[in-house]
């Protein structure tokens, strides 16, 4: 498999006929480079597409897919390019279909509590638009102001609010998609129940563009939650912090919206990058950020007093309470800009993304600590502790050359991913597999990968949709 044809002049001419002259990028290296990588690690994982096309509707996509199928040219779909696993990187060249022009919110249906969106809508914009009507899209991951809803569904993204609301797939009621045959199909829709056979919405969420290309997405809306309060909780040791994740989840009397973990090294780098100082940052080895939602100030007070007292009695150094925008921003800044903060000091840093059952967080943290010592590599860690999803970010030792570092860092991240799987977790919690994690996926879920290969052949017999992602055929 994976023997593809090169993009030729007549192919490009046909693309231009379908989408118009200005919506095709060809033979312009500088412009093509913008579509050659995502945020997984720049130069290491970049591949130049031969041509980029920016369709505006499902009909154009269908024609492009048919054209590529006939010509055996690989297609790589691309959202905002904010992915961290290389899912949008055109590793076989070919054509990149960018969804940037399919950026309209088609409908906000208040009666059914559903929004219908094109895949290229920035999820943050969707949230803002529905908030104007006091509605809430709870599947919003943390990548503030960048990622597209289409990419969120394609990777089945997570974020910090999964403990309360679940990940992206829990908020997707339906999709319209173009299959590799060029046929446009709809799975699910505005209905909330569907017991009629296989659940294709769930199958396509997380399929990373290997089975179909989304053209419409039906998202679930709920009433906008009232107020929030954020607690910043420093701990003397990472063990204390990790042990208190369960306390934070149970003791407020309601489920928190988020329990985030961030270690000392991350905080130190984040303070420098964001020009802020967090309380106790010289003595605390780790922090939790705990967020609760409530209807009124009084209700929230009750919740955070209960949770805060419990955290202190279980070893928290103190509990800081942010119940207004200014203080909440201050508390979240270091965590939200975590990766940018580290990249400011080490542009070569790759981000891991592993998930374990929450009870196993201490073990995976211990493993990372030992690995850090043994390998002589600093590994700052942050993550969504409430759902066991951690992001280790190994930093290149100063004296190591970048080429050697690529292999070394991959080896480190692979070890952590395999350990997570061994502990009952998975090699990716929310960023997806792309092509960077194929090895560890194949090693940890052979039976699943084998079925995925069979499914892929049913959907995409020519193997033209996002080839080389998730697994090799």
């Amino acid at each position: 498999m994976n023997e593809f044809e090169k993009v030729g002049v007549s192919f490009v001419k046909d693309l231009r006929r379908i989408v118009g002259e200005r919506a095709v990028i060809y033979e312009d290296r500088e412009a093509l480079e913008a579509y050659s990588s995502d945020e997984s690690g720049g130069v290491y994982y970049s591949h130049l597409p031969e041509v980029v096309v920016k369709p505006e509707n499902a009909k154009q996509i269908s024609e492009i897919v048919k054209l590529a199928g006939d010509a055996r040219v690989p297609i790589t779909p691309r959202g905002a390019g904010s992915g961290l696993a290389g899912g949008a990187v055109p590793i076989y060249g070919g054509v990149v279909i960018s969804f940037e022009r399919m950026n309209k919110i088609l409908e906000i249906d208040e009666e059914n509590l559903v929004a219908v969106s094109e895949p290229g809508v920035v999820t943050n914009d969707l949230c803002k638009k529905v908030a104007e009507r006091n509605l809430y899209y709870a599947g919003y991951p943390m990548s503030v102001e960048t990622s597209f809803i289409g990419g969120n569904v394609a990777t089945n993204a997570g974020g910090s609010k999964v403990i309360k609301y679940g990940n992206t797939v829990h908020h997707i009621l339906g999709v319209e998609a173009v299959l590799p045959s060029g046929e446009t199909v709809r799975f699910g829709g505005k209905r909330r129940k569907d017991s009629s056979g296989y659940d294709f919405v769930r199958l396509l969420a997380g399929s990373e563009g290997t089975l179909a290309l989304f053209t419409k997405i039906f998202v679930n809306l709920i009433p906008l939650p009232g107020k929030t309060v954020d607690l910043l909780v420093p701990f003397k040791s990472t063990e204390d912090a990790v042990r208190n994740v369960a306390v934070a989840i149970k003791e407020g009397g309601v489920l928190p919206t988020a329990v985030e973990f961030i270690d000392k090294l991350s905080v130190k780098l984040g303070e420098k990058y964001n020009n802020v100082v967090l309380p106790f940052s010289d003595t605390a080895e780790a922090y939790l950020i705990v967020q609760f939602e409530g209807k009124s100030r009084e209700e929230l007070e009750k919740i955070y007093v209960n949770a805060g007292k419990a955290l202190i009695s279980h070893g928290a150094m103190n509990v800081f309470v942010a119940d207004n925008r200014t203080n909440s921003d201050k508390i979240w800044k270091v965590r939200r800009n975590w990766l940018e903060g580290i990249k400011a000091f080490d542009p070569y840093v790759p981000t891991g993304d592993v998930v374990v059952p929450t009870s196993e967080i201490p073990k995976i943290i211990d493993f990372i600590k030992i690995l850090s010592k043994e390998s002589g590599v600093k590994i700052p860690v942050a993550g969504h502790a409430a759902d066991g999803n951690l992001h280790p970010a190994p930093m290149k030792p100063e004296d190591m050359n970048p080429a050697a570092w690529k292999d070394y860092s991959e080896e480190i991240l692979d070890k952590i991913a395999l350990k997570a799987a061994e502990l009952g977790g998975a090699v990716s919690g929310e960023h997806g597999i792309g092509f960077i994690k194929k090895r560890v996926l194949a090693e940890t879920k052979p039976a699943q990968v084998s079925i995925m290969r069979s499914l892929k052949r049913v959907f995409d017999p020519n193997g033209i949709l996002n080839p080389g992602k998730l697994f090799d055929l």
């Binding site: 309380p279 007093v305 202190i312 103190n318 800081f320």
Partner: protein
Amino acid sequence: MRIGVLVKQVPATENVKIDEKTGVMMRSGAESELNPLDMYAVEEAVRIKERLGGEVVVLSMGPPSAEYAVRDALSMGCDRGFLISDRLFAGSDTLATARILSAAILKLGGFDMIFAGERATDGETGQVGPGVAARLGVSLITYVRKISDVDNFRVVAERAVEEGTEIVEAALPALITVVKEINEPRVPDLAGKIGSMFAQIPVLSGKDISINKEKVGLKGSPTRVAKVFYPKLTRNGRIIDGKDPEKAVAELIRFLKEKSIL
């Protein structure tokens, strides 16, 4: 050292909406919060108290719900708080508000130092602090970005002005309005929050502060809003064809000169 802090409750939104017909701020429905700039005033007051001893008293004029702004200031380390609230005060402009606040301050026995934020994020006038200083006849230093020295008799402060920095020394009592550069306000801790929940916050009415009814509220407010409108942002884009770079640069320079930019 007796320190007073003036705080205001403001709508918790980035965009304050104004009814263009009536000129009145639309507050209903919006969440409220302590004016973000006042947090810097509270922080500076508490830091001076922590250094020199004494107490910090926080005052806010507003509807009963403004009690929350007082509690938020208490959670940051203020010792006592008062809410100055009376139906008579409704519709007070900056002049009437300054009268009310200065009367309350006199009623409480005055302060050695009074801190206020540079302005509130809703009205954006920055007039109330200076108005209070004028009515009390105390020293006034505005736009303070650093208190370089303070003792029981005098204060030396750095003012952020357009041309740079002014260093001003003033005798106490003094009223100081602060800008964001002055400090990094603390996030209150759980103990501070719990303390503020149970604090008694006395309410001072017009009677309590012995103020002339005619001088407050709409009656006592000479400010009239003639018209309120949203400024129109106009942008004109122009693309200069770059096929002939020399010609394009010449055209760009001509254009910038015409607009007096070059």
